[in-house]
Symmetry: C2
Subunit: 402 residues, 2 copies
């Protein structure tokens, strides 16, 4: 069974959390290994040749990947904590389903075509999103990636060893990059633009990704007894966290951005102890890079500490001509921007010809077990991807070198 | 070596956390088992007979415990997360040192005398402070205690089984209680009253424990994507946490109480996800019970949810006559109240004749690796305890039945 919903069903049990119904599929864990095995097995079953690049991203090739710059489609299989079933897997499953449909139809691509599974897109474990495509493309150094630590203090290098891999192999992979002519990523929409649009359309083409970044605020205080320390003697960093949270919301609203403090670590996190320190992570995005950049110093001023920038991705535009071309090919579907980061955005930043397809999400809810896409909309996404791949890998279309 | 600082030195390595220099000694863990072994071995070395009650509190008896209501002294060996070396252990070590000194001096007690180590005083693992003395004395039911869960979801019953114990034995222990005539707990001071007092005195007698309680606020929101969800569409429970933290401080200041949000749990705690829920624990105390009680509904109103009361201990007065008597015996030392809870408070509430001795803490810092008491002040504490025990266990003093 190679329909998109069948494929998603095959992995529905992997990394599912009983309590929330959401998923915990983090890079280089057992769940990740199971998903990688499923990807390799399914792709091999479709007659594709599965290889890995130096970072561990999986590529399933149809045709000789070194014969010409290829048409690549895919997404990721990892999740945020308690994430939904579609963010990432819908793109991978749709790509596999599209290849199956093309094969069944007797289509013969004029150039090599691949389905890819990028590792660690969400950055849920090590804190930096899209580390798989960033290291692959040289946007992040191997040294920095390997030194990132998860919540238990395990470095990515150690996690790779635990997963039976060699961290010394990790690095920018020019050989793998040279095979990419065009990259198209299909993704569930993470807002409700398609759900709200009067035009009843289940698919859109992406125009750009808002500039976005992550900053860590380490708020220091002094541990002390919650019962015996006078209020005036306290240095309680939880008050600074409260200030960070409320200021982030009000300053973001003023600047037309979105800002979120979604992750907090309290030390020692005891009921009867004033914390010694609290770390709060800020995620900030917006249509205008200057505004996003302006938000952080205002917050630093309001809480009185310097933030550590963990990542920043400037405004990212997908290939405008290609996006127009695909929107026309698909019958005049809308072209929309998004506040969510993607591997396609990383590759676009690094000069690759990229495009994105979004599939309608009726409530717009994402990064949540409630994330949803209707089966018929998923099928429409596959049909759009089939048309796109057929168009890009037909004899007529010339693919420029990156 | 049975000096108080020597005894503390013997356990200085158990449960020490490298990063903070503080201690993590939680009930029914490996560290707790090591501390219990140390207690039993040291007490046996002093010729005391070590028994356990149904809850697992340790009692080291000098003389036949069933011959008359005994004089009991002691404290606890567990800690808060990243706690100091003195909160609890100073009382246990001083009690052992005092017994050693009495024995060396040839003193023969007129009634049985015991050193006790109460289990799980801090409640760091299962969330309820003084569970050892509460269950022993019937202030908390065994069912409630056994069902408490730690941060990993392990119940106290399961933890007991893992520690090789039988949870079915746990319950109020009238036989153990009948042996207690008077209980005296020595403790490091957790404020800096003795450090600030003009009178240069290293020891004080306790008068009372402020009413205090713990409440959990479960703040619910809706998980969603941090980049694609408009501010106006969000239900972000982190904003309610910020409100809880700031309101707790301002309302406590207005009411003359202290209030602390020292423990927070964020779900799913991902950088790029609006949390689905945040739990914040409130610790509130004050000299006036009505004011402490008034604080919680005001906070419930400000964050719009009902709090779960995890524990509440009303104003607790130690035996006033005994406190006066001891203050005189010790040369007119001050009698002071405290905002910190203690097993002595639980026993006082349950009708036992109790008193406390506090040893000077120059900075007042507690529940922190920086907690400190000077060695000579610790020795002064032992001397005060020796005088107290000699007085209470001499022939002249009549101990009323509980």
């Amino acid at each position: 069974m190679t329909g998109v919903t069948d494929l998603l069903e095959q992995i529905a049990g992997i990394g599912r959390v009983g309590a929330s119904g959401g998923y915990r599929r983090f890079a280089w864990t057992r769940e990740d290994a199971l998903l990688r095995e499923w990807f390799a097995g399914t792709a091999a079953g479709l007659g594709l040749e599965v290889v890995e690049d130096r970072v561990g991203n999986q590529w399933a090739w149809w045709g000789d990947p070194d014969s010409a710059p290829g048409i690549v489609t895919g997404s990721h299989l990892d999740s945020v904590p308690d994430g939904g079933a579609y963010d990432g897997p819908l793109g991978v499953a749709s790509s596999l389903a599209a290849v199956a449909a093309l094969r069944d139809s007797g289509f013969v691509p004029s150039r090599p075509l691949a389905v890819t599974n990028f590792v660690d897109e969400e950055g849920a474990r090590f804190g930096v999103a899209c580390s798989g495509s960033r290291v692959l493309s040289g946007a992040m150094s191997a040294d920095r990636a390997l030194g990132l630590r998860d919540g238990d203090g395990v470095t990515m290098a150690e996690a790779l060893v635990s997963a039976g891999r060699d961290p010394h192999q990790v690095g920018r992979d020019d050989e793998a990059l040279a095979r990419v002519g065009t990259f198209v990523e299909l993704h569930v929409e993470q807002g409700r633009l398609l759900g709200d649009l009067d035009a009843d359309t289940p698919v859109a083409v992406g125009s750009s990704i808002w500039p976005h970044g992550r900053w860590r605020f380490d708020l220091l205080g002094e541990a002390n007894h919650a019962g015996t320390t006078r209020l005036e003697d306290r240095r309680d960093p939880m008050l600074a966290l409260a200030e960070l949270v409320t200021s982030a919301r009000s300053i973001a609203a003023r600047l037309g951005c979105v800002a979120t403090v979604g992750k907090v670590e309290v030390r020692p996190n005891g009921v009867n102890a004033i914390p010694s320190s609290v770390s709060g992570w800020l995620d900030a995005r917006g249509p205008d890079e200057d505004d996003v950049r302006r938000l952080v110093p205002l917050l630093e001023q309001s809480v009185g500490v310097s933030a550590v920038e963990e990542s920043f991705t400037p405004d990212t535009r997908f290939d405008a001509d290609l996006s127009q071309e695909l929107a026309g090919l698909l019958g005049g579907v809308p072209i929309v921007g998004t506040g969510a980061g993607h591997d396609a955005g990383v590759l676009a930043t690094r000069g690759f010809r990229t495009a994105m397809l979004f599939v309608r999400n009726p409530t717009g809810v994402s990064h949540s077990p409630a994330e949803h896409a209707e089966p018929e909309d998923c099928e429409a996404g596959v049909a759009a991807l089939v048309a796109t791949l057929r168009h890009l890998a037909s004899g007529a279309e010339a693919v420029p070198a990156p």
